[in-house]
């Protein structure tokens, strides 16, 4: 296995140290700025030096991200960042690998690599900037756009049902799923921190506003007058409570989540207590976005996390096991094989 040339950072780094000297070329008001800033703010807390990080991206607005980081980085091709990052991590498990992509990049052209990375569970942080639109190609609908979306390519409305990223990820055996918002820097930092601390593929969906082609797509979750009624912030071990005056709770009636009025004498103990290790409930939380029996608030925070082996560790384990059992074969032995004969 390769060893790194250095292992510790001499002085604590700052957010600024993680910024490259390249001019940032996102549109004014783009949600990507906030995400870049929060990642740069969180990374110094890892106490790891710059050279340990590799940011890998595909294609799309968000995928310019690595150019703006002062770490190692690869800006690759559309949809393939997850596959390329998996090879990178397996080849050198000591690297801190982050993948940045958009909803088009990861769920459309890269859908296959996305689900396979989740099931393999390399210890990679995967941030999906979901703006529900194709920005870089100037405004076609994406696999997360709502059905009926009017865009340049769908003047009469889009015809396909959108993906529910949380449900897709959990179905693909993601070991970590969280959702956060570009316009809530504090929540973002908490979630990115949690993702960073997760041992395995940490998939974070970030609602990101595209001010040019899909402005306001998430405003009901980010703007003051609606945010409290529409957002449900999850905390492990805490009951599900939301509302302007924290006056609404969610209770489970069998498998059906029901919104209850906390003023009506219902105590916190009667509510659904969030458990990050409960996959069945994580699926229910994922379904909130699509539930039709009642209008549910949109959950944010860590839906689900589990500890299971990472593929790069399994690779190393098999290599060590083979070495122990068979020993490293000398090259001359590999060249000769088992059956030889001599011609004099």
């Amino acid at each position: 296995m390769d060893t790194l040339t250095s292992n510790s950072a001499p002085v604590k780094l700052t957010a600024k140290d993680f910024a490259s000297d390249q001019e940032i070329k996102w549109c004014p008001g783009c949600g990507d700025y906030s995400i870049l800033k929060q990642v740069q703010t969180v990374l110094p807390d890892t106490n790891l030096p710059l050279e340990k990080f590799v940011f890998v991206s595909g294609i799309g607005c968000s995928s310019r991200f690595p150019y703006y980081m002062s770490t190692y980085g690869m800006h690759t091709i559309h949809g393939r960042a997850t596959a390329i990052a998996t090879g990178l991590k397996v080849a050198n498990p000591e690297l801190q690998v982050w993948v940045i992509g958009g909803d088009g990049d990861l769920m459309s052209i890269g859908g296959n690599h996305f689900i396979h990375m989740l099931r393999r569970n390399p210890n990679i942080k995967l941030l999906m900037f979901n703006n529900q639109i194709y920005g870089l190609t100037k405004g076609q609908y994406s696999p997360t756009s709502e059905k009926g979306k009017i865009t340049k390519s769908t003047p009469m409305g889009s015809l396909d049902e959108p993906f529910n990223p949380a449900e897709l990820a959990l179905g693909a055996k993601a070991s970590f799923f969280a959702r956060t918002l570009d316009r809530d820097p504090k929540h973002q930092q908490v979630v990115i921190n949690r993702a960073n601390g997760h041992h395995g593929t940490a998939f974070v969906e970030i609602y990101q506003n595209c001010p040019v082609f899909n402005d306001g797509a998430f405003f009901i979750y980010t703007e003051k007058d609606t945010k409290k009624e529409e957002c449900l912030f999850l905390e492990h071990g805490k009951p599900l409570i939301f509302g302007k005056n924290e006056d609404k709770g969610i209770r489970l009636d069998g498998f059906k989540p029901v919104i209850v009025d906390l003023a009506g004498g219902i105590s916190h103990d009667d509510l659904w207590i969030h458990d990050e290790s409960d996959k069945d409930k994580a699926f229910l939380l994922a379904r909130f976005a699509d539930m039709t029996h009642t209008h549910m608030p949109r959950p944010f925070g860590v839906f689900y996390r589990e500890d299971r082996p990472c593929i790069e560790e399994d690779f190393e384990r098999q290599l060590a096991e083979a070495k122990l059992k068979k020993g490293r074969l000398p090259l001359n032995k590999i060249l000769s094989g088992d059956k030889t004969w001599t011609i004099a």
């Binding site: 390769d2 040339t5 980081m69 190692y72 800006h75 090879g87 990178l88 000398p330 011609i343």
Partner: protein
């Protein structure tokens, strides 16, 4: 292990010495013909004979039993003289059923030997093979009169020999191939020892099966020895190959070993990203056996992820490899251009098969040359190396790795189904005979006082390779056009053109490091040159040996480096009145040669999923020679 009883013949039979024999084992996919052929080959090899093999099997795993589509064949050419091909025509054809006879008879020599399994010619098998209802078996109707036909009820004799074995009828039936092998060993005066030894290794923990196989094998031998049917046996001396230690090796095995050798000599780990595809999957299987040597094999979700993961590994500092065949190669195109743009080392192995599309997955062709040359978007020239025989896959892929690692460029290695599955004796090298491969990871800033320049080139046009994790050299690489030296994104028009030129020049300069082309045979100037590449080597070589005996003035040049070509190629081509390019495609190298050197090269082109026969090459050469 059982003591091995050397079986000596009891009977006086005529023994004929022969310097080379082609045997074709042909039967249903389930008849075990591949295994039989391989055992026969191993024994021939261990007896010091030169060999060349050609396994041929259907694309379906179990095509309908008894039909022509389901016939699986294994051809072995062995001899005391040097052998370069599996042979045009068979001396001996073993057929397990009517379909096998129907499919393969055309290539049996006049007066050749047929050993036919009688029970494979009953009315059911006749019908499955497409003979008209009620027709007389070809074994009985006189149609095989020109051949030496031996009818043996192989199934019955095997059953008889194993009636005490306690095995099921199905298991007993599976031992038929060992009876055949024993009979052939008797016929060619070969020891059963090696096969008994390998059966012991294979079935050591299944004594019933082991004993049944050995009994069937010996019964076959004894059948030959005891019955009066066979009057002639054949003996072949050891070949006068160069002195040394040999092993038998297939092209895909040689390829896998070559990759490991290159990585070890370069001080790197191997990372293979691959998706199963015929006929390349065996490289994945083979490499996955070397985990103890740090080889990581990653079976990806698709061809694109396979090359993607290899690119990620190359960035990390490994020898990144991906293996595939034509359709997979097409899928890898975009990522291959990315690796080219990144200027990272990467080995891409295309084991060609009959195309386009799914084409003939188990058959051979050389029709991906132009895809290797031009099959990418944008200006993206890449080095191309082709192997010319099974054992040569080792040397060729070693060279491909050397170029890739020393020049920071993806290299395309071309093999094909014919040499990938075929095998031959290999006088393998030792570690210290292998050329060094120089890889130096950069750890110092190449721009003191300023920022590290990831795309600053040396005199060969090669940029530095830095492992992520190296302090102070953090940099980003990307698919967007880069500014010269800094690697920062640049849309500046002249910079783009300059970068295209620099990348192309780097590839062109590889020609400085490769040996000048040398004729395989013939005079330096003359009437005609035969220019080949890849797996056509054996057929061309054998044709020229014959033609030189007959006094023809013809030279043979075989290309390993297809891009860039050795610097003296133009000069060589212009030294002959005529140039013939035999290829298993529509004329792809011919087109490259004509375009580059403006000479009226002629082609011999075959696209039947089958390699050239020596005869085909000879005939075309004579025709063009006399024109």
């Amino acid at each position: 292990m059982d003591p091995i009883v050397e079986t000596h013949s009891n009977r006086k039979t005529k023994i004929k010495d022969t310097d080379s024999v082609v045997v074709r084992f042909s039967g249903d996919s389930g008849d075990g013909m591949q295994l039989t052929g391989m055992q026969f080959t191993d024994t021939s090899a261990l007896l010091g004979q030169d060999i060349s093999t050609f396994p041929e099997y259907p694309a379906e795993i179990r095509a309908p039993a008894g039909t022509i589509a389901g016939v699986s064949g294994f051809q072995v050419h062995f001899g005391s003289k040097e052998i370069f091909t599996p042979g045009d025509q068979y001396d001996v054809l073993v057929v397990m059923n009517a379909a096998a006879l129907k499919g393969d008879l055309a290539r049996l020599k006049r007066d050749g030997v047929i050993i036919a399994n009688v029970s494979g010619f009953d009315s059911k098998n006749m019908k499955l093979a497409g003979y008209p209802e009620g027709s007389v078996s070809p074994l009985e109707d006189g149609s095989l009169d020109g051949y030496q036909l031996f009818k043996v009820d192989i199934a019955k004799f095997t059953k008889e020999a194993l009636k005490e074995s306690g095995l099921s009828m199905k298991e007993i039936d599976r031992c038929k191939n060992m009876f055949v092998l024993g009979l052939l060993f008797w016929m060619f005066d070969k020891s059963m020892e090696f096969t008994i030894r390998s059966l012991n290794e294979k079935f050591g923990n299944k004594p019933d099966i082991l004993n049944a196989n050995i009994t069937a094998l010996k019964s076959g031998w004894n059948y030959g020895d005891n019955t009066e049917i066979f009057t002639t046996r054949y003996r072949t001396a050891a070949a006068s190959l160069p002195a040394g230690v040999y092993r038998n090796i297939s092209g895909n095995q040689a390829l896998a070993i070559g990759i490991i050798a290159a990585a070890e000599k370069a001080g790197l780990s191997v990372f293979l990203g691959s998706y199963p595809i015929t006929p390349a999957s065996d490289v994945l299987h083979e490499l996955s056996k070397f985990k103890a040597n740090g080889v990581k094999t990653f079976q990806a979700e698709d061809e694109i992820a396979a090359i993607g993961a290899a690119i990620g590994a190359a960035y990390a500092g490994a020898l990144g490899v991906t293996t595939t065949s034509g359709p997979g190669m097409a899928l890898k195109g975009e990522a291959l251009s990315l690796a080219m743009m990144f200027e990272l080392p990467l080995l891409v192995c295309d084991i060609q098969r009959g195309g386009p599309s799914t084409g003939l997955p188990t058959k051979t062709e050389q029709a991906d040359l132009l895809m290797a040359m031009y099959g990418r978007h944008g200006e993206s020239p890449l080095p191309i190396i082709a192997a010319m025989s099974p054992a040569d896959c080792f040397d060729a892929v070693y060279e491909a790795c050397r170029i890739s690692l020393e020049h920071m460029v993806p290299v395309i290695f071309l093999s094909d189904g014919y040499i990938a599955n075929g095998s031959e004796p290999w006088k393998f090298p030792t570690e210290d005979q292998l050329k060094p491969i120089n890889v130096k990871f950069v750890t110092e800033n190449n721009n003191p006082g300023g920022k590290f320049l990831p795309y600053k080139r040396d005199e060969r046009g090669v940029r530095p390779w830095v492992k992520p994790g190296t302090r102070g050299l953090e940099h980003r690489i990307g698919g967007l056009e880069k500014q010269e030296e800094t690697g920062n994104v640049s849309y500046e028009p002249r910079n783009h053109e300059r970068m295209i030129q620099l990348r192309a020049e780097k590839v062109a300069k590889i020609a400085d490091t490769i040996p000048l082309a040398k004729l395989d045979s013939g005079n330096a100037k003359g009437k005609m040159l035969v220019l080949g590449w890849g797996s056509t080597y054996g057929a061309i070589k054998t044709a020229l040996i014959d033609l030189h005996h007959e006094g023809y003035d013809i030279a043979h040049l075989h290309l390993r480096h297809l891009n860039p070509m050795p610097k003296n190629i133009g000069e060589i081509l212009k030294s002959y009145d005529k140039v013939l390019v035999p290829e298993m495609n529509g004329g792809q190298l011919r087109q490259l040669i004509r375009a580059e050197f403006l000479i009226p090269a002629e082609g011999l082109n075959k696209m039947q999923g089958q390699p050239f026969t020596t005869e085909e090459v000879k005939n075309k050469i004579i025709e063009l020679y006399n024109k």
